[in-house]
Symmetry: C2
Subunit: 365 residues, 2 copies
């Protein structure tokens, strides 16, 4: 009595099952299972015998058959946000490659879902958890107050943040030291002779913005420069907003000769602003940014930026998550990496003083 069946399950369903292995060894499948899972009540001799024949027979357990008993299916969950402005897109491919490869290496798989953010994203995660489609999650683009972390914590589902949290609970994370990059960028600009340096930050809903701003400030202090609060703005995640912010800074009566951006996408807006006003990027106005999106190399002059290795990040996140699911304590699962300076021609010694620059700007408007 067959119901509407769909595709015939290929008769080549000749997978090697645990029972096959057991029969070949003259053991029961229970014993084989315990041997493979390192139960203490199996003799070393048997354990090795089992391991060898399982290997030679090409036995690999079906993750979802295990999952029905254990609740774990060796799957990493990744929920992406669809409509975020810009910056995510260029890295997505590399990031996925990193996660996917690391997962494969551990015989894990990657389940991805996309949702529009907010509550819908939480609902999506809930569904994946409830249906046991993911044993844990990678949480990209950590927010200053991240409801995803809260949810997963309360559900006791393992997760690893890409980015840090303001109040560090017991969670695992991986992050690139954006603050360090900002610090170095300021040092570089100061070394070129800039003393009035503006800072265009990203959206304050993201935690990285706080870190990068702090890095900017530390850098200024180390360079012996004073931060003019009028030259510190935020909320620039897109080219358009970046443009507007630069115009805003340049309209100051003592405009900055250099502007540091927290985000490449916004920094591209500086080119538009410069073109509109008639300034040469890299000479009249120096720009340094962060992310290392491909567009950096396409604009003229090339945008000096701190490049993030997204593929590596994805790989590290996956490994940390797997270790977390396997039982390691989250507080031991924290890693950072450095962004790498990727020099272009967008920064250099100031050709104009702030006064001259102010005149140029005034003349253009």
């Amino acid at each position: 009595m067959k119901a509407a069946p769909g595709i015939e399950v290929s008769p080549s369903a000749d997978r090697v099952t645990i029972s096959d292995v057991a029969d070949a060894l003259g053991l029961t499948k229970g014993t084989v299972s315990r041997a493979l899972n390192n139960y203490p009540d199996i003799s070393d001799a048997t354990r090795q015998r089992v391991a060898r024949t399982a290997e030679s027979m090409g036995y690999r357990p079906l993750a979802h058959a295990q999952a029905i008993r254990t609740g774990r299916s060796r799957a990493i969950g990744l929920v992406l946000q669809t409509d975020v402005a810009g910056a995510q897109r260029p890295f997505l491919s590399d990031f996925l490659a990193g996660v996917s490869n690391a997962a494969s290496d551990a015989s894990w798989t990657l389940t991805v879902a996309m949702s529009s953010g907010g509550n819908e994203m939480l609902a999506t995660m809930r569904r994946l958890i409830e249906e046991r489609k993911a044993d844990g999650f990678i949480v990209p683009r950590t927010l200053a107050e991240d409801a995803r972390a809260t949810l997963l914590n309360s559900l006791k589902v393992p997760f690893v943040l890409y980015g840090r949290l303001r109040e560090i609970g017991d969670c695992a994370w991986f992050d690139i030291l954006g603050e360090e990059a900002m610090r170095k960028a300021v040092a570089r600009l100061a070394g070129q002779g800039h003393s009035r340096i503006g800072f265009v930050n990203g959206g304050m809903e993201y935690n990285f913005s706080y870190l990068r701003e702090e890095g900017f400030r530390v850098g200024m202090q180390e360079a012996g420069l004073k931060v003019d609060e009028n030259l510190v703005v935020n909320g620039a995640m897109t080219r358009e907003v970046g443009r507007d912010k630069v115009v805003e800074l340049l309209a100051h009566d003592k405009p900055p000769t250099a502007v540091l951006f927290a985000v490449d996408m916004a920094a591209l807006g500086a080119y538009d602003a410069a073109e509109a006003i008639g300034l040469q990027i890299g000479q009249d106005l120096s720009v340094i940014s962060y992310d290392g999106i491909p567009e950096c190399a396409w604009v003229r002059p090339k945008l000096t930026s701190f490049r993030v290795d997204s593929k590596m990040a994805g790989g590290r996140l996956a490994e940390l998550l797997i270790r977390h699911v396997r039982g390691e304590h989250p507080s031991t699962l924290r890693e950072t990496a450095h962004a790498m300076l990727w020099p272009g021609g967008s920064d250099g010694p100031p050709r104009l003083t702030t006064e001259e620059l102010a005149n140029r700007v005034a003349g253009a408007i």
Copy 2:
């Protein structure tokens, strides 16, 4: 006797199981299962009673518990290639969103893996199949001769191509009518007064290249123009190669006043070539392309291109695949959609004749 355990499986493992539903109804779980799966030996009354209480109790079957018996887990497999030149990246996010959303709507999930292509990609697919991590595959970027299709066919695993195959076997596909876009592009250029139109095709390993070239030729014929084979080149998938191809075409003694590209990424190279030679895109040289990547809007003048709705494509592919897995015959699962003209300033009436253009080019080199 517990083995090294890992994270405690959350005690909130209070999912509603099929037994719960059965108990609540005074039926056996077998009956409930058959009722929910529309077996013919269940009375309509019972079927509806079961459906209602299952719904009200919030019962949703565990996909991987079903899979152990049925072999299907309601998962779409998507294997992406890591190192392809360019064009994939900009659309990945939209494409994933489309696939993911369509999958979610049907209570399916999306398993993605990335690999470097060729045999490694086939091995990755094999692994996913063997481990039952995917019930079927979406095969993006169809090649002229696609080993993936061959493999999946021989394994009798359902799949849907994004793109068509040269020799249409019994497979399902979704595709955008690139040839139609090329045809319209030629008509547009001809209408603007161009008579010498070059064509820079993509790599001939991709099947779409054959289609688009055919579209170009049909368009030329319909416009009453003769194709100069010297002005038809291929293999341009990147900005750099695109640039070189344009230079090559312009070096012709009767250079084209308009160039049609099969791929945006390559068309961007035309801007570099034009800048090097000192030509105005849109006036001295008209360019129309295809894909609709975001960069089209960032270059000056904006690149006229035929935009592909990747999100929609992903969604359609997912739905077709699901229907395929459910048993519909692949030959009934074929869809196409249109690319949409996205006008920029990169094309227009020719300012120069081909002779004048040749002189300009000669002067510049």
